[in-house]
Amino acid sequence: MAASHSRVLREVAALSPLEVQFESRNGAPREGSFWSCPTCEAQTDRAEWRRALSVCPHCGYHARVGARERVAQVVDHGSFTEEWGRLRPLDPLKFVDLEAYPTRVRGAQAATGLSEAIVVGTARIEGVDCVLAAMDFGFMGGSMGSVVGERFYRAVERAVADHTPLVAICTSGGARMQEGVLSLMQMAKTTFAVDLLNEARVPYVAVLADPCTGGVVASFATLADICVAEPGARLYFSGPRVIRETTREELPEGFASAERNLELGHLDAVLPRAELRTRLACYMRLLKGGVRNDGTDTAAPGQWAGGDLGRRVAGETRRASERARRGIGGARRLAEEATRRAKELVAPPGRESE
């Protein structure tokens, strides 16, 4: 374990241009050489706590982690390449509340060292190539604005183009109010992105970390093929405050916790952070497992390809055999065409055979 822990630290150091900041539950960076757990109040040496992936070694409390640290925790050392980091937000509504939106963004950038609330790129997890998206709750509450939507969409397009699985680690307070209805539209946009993944049969695994709420949990986060959460993560569409104020209902014990969501059938598993890497790799291998290692496909032609194209090829094959049966000309040409396209679909040009 020690070796992999120091790997994590090296990874953090390599990624971050700033001193990495670790956040407490309320989002404020904590200083000092000890970390005190907000639930069991045990004091842990900060370095030891970091080595334990920011999980309390005494009670197992999972503290929030930023996007960079998260990436470092799950990917194979040195395998992460950030993409689309140059996408930046604009201020379409000239939104001013107690502070102007640009001021809030700059503040969040200074606090996190990130340009936006999501970091996306290509990575390898225990040897499995994937596209990884990690959100950061420290950046304006992980809120989904236009840049989060666009980076996620581009991550999906890359996953589809490369036929590599997508892993999204989601933590968010919901849509970003400062971008008004444009932030609401990101819910629909990311949903269309998931549709692209599904159509191309590209595996998609989502990890819901504390807290995952509002517009994110009601769009791409819960639409994954496999949906897991971290222990103690709170997952809800409407928050406790809104529920109490609107309905005056008493909230039951453990309301909206990952464990409760697992019981209710909304999640596939609740995974301790230390297991995340292994399980993610395992899920991805299984979802890709329909293709044999020798490169031949066990399923029908077009299994990997977009449904529409796959269906067209299947239709051409059917028409060709029909024409051959009835002795109509052109069957051979149709069959050849279908075979050629089926081959392309199973092993698209330029795709490495496994």
């Binding site: 241009p17 236009s146 209710l264």
Partner: protein, 288 residues
């Protein structure tokens, strides 16, 4: 007609869109849909009265209609939960969308909700995923889909029925990521700042047309749709009819692709220059 919303400030529009006499989805169904047959239930566990749906004739063609129903009097309001749908309501919508796709019927939706119902049972019944799946099922339709925002377009609960080829908005309706009160409570730490939040959120039809979030603003009678519901409905009929005529000319799969492109374009971002993180951030006006 004039676009009154442009003259009003946003907070006045918020008041009109929530007016107790404003025509509701059932009123528009009565005016626009002939031979309406209501279809009920989500086929899983319940029928949510906050979402009304069914089959009927729009002009000379059969359509599937789905909409949020806000009540008029207190009795109906309680029954339909003030137009706030539960997961059962969204699953009923999904079921009706599937029906429309199977039988090649265009889908007309009417949006009028403060938001999805925020309750413990709704949360535990999978509200988040119900909304997400409803959007996904709309995204996958190949039949024409026209959404009309007739009152309050509140947050994800509204968007779940508005993932459409054409989104139309009556001039005194609103469409927003959060209610002004909710936004004020979070960003101003006091719900009393709702009028300021309403201005900041730009939830009005004329502004959303500029942002390309909607395709058309449907004019209303002077003072708002409640002053002359049948005149308001006649305007809605023309707008929906025009939208359907446009959509009929597009092949089904292309329609779906264009719907995806429509939503993919929405947002406001820039490909920045300079090093990764801490550079000056182009948060000013777009350079284009």
């Amino acid at each position: 007609m004039r676009h009154e919303a442009r003259r009003h400030d946003a907070w006045v529009t918020v008041g009109i869109c929530r007016h107790k006499d404003r025509p509701r989805t059932r009123d528009y169904i009565e005016h626009l849909i002939g031979g309406f047959e209501e279809l009920r239930g989500d086929r899983l566990r319940a029928d949510d009265a906050a979402v009304v749906g069914g089959l009927g004739w729009f002009e000379s063609r059969a359509v599937v209609v789905v909409g949020h129903q806000k009540g008029r009097d207190l009795n109906e309001q309680t029954q339909v939960n003030f137009g706030m749908a539960r997961p059962e309501g969204y699953r009923k919508a999904q079921r009706l969308f599937a029906l429309a796709e199977r039988h090649r019927l265009p889908v007309l939706t009417f949006v009028d909700t403060p938001g999805a119902y925020p309750g413990v049972a709704a949360e535990e019944g999978g509200q988040a995923r119900a909304i997400a799946e409803t959007m996904l099922s709309m995204a996958r339709l190949t039949v024409p889909v026209v959404a009309t925002i007739i009152g309050e377009g509140g947050s994800g609960g509204a968007l779940a029925l508005a993932v459409a080829d054409r989104v139309l908005m009556q001039e005194n309706s609103t469409y927003s990521v959060i209610t002004p009160e909710g936004c004020a409570a979070i960003l101003w730490h006091d719900a009393k700042f709702a009028p300021q939040a309403a201005e900041a959120l730009h939830p009005t039809a004329s502004r959303l047309l500029e942002l390309e979030v909607i395709e058309d603003v449907i004019p209303e009678p002077r003072g708002g749709a409640h002053h002359n519901p049948s005149a308001a409905a006649a305007r809605v009929r023309v707008a929906i009819s025009d939208a359907l005529t446009e959509l009929d000319a597009i092949p089904p799969l292309e329609r779906r692709r264009l719907r995806r492109e429509r939503f993919r374009r929405l947002g406001s971002w820039i490909e920045g220059a300079g090093p990764y993180a801490m550079s000056a951030v182009p948060l000013g006006p777009p350079s284009t």
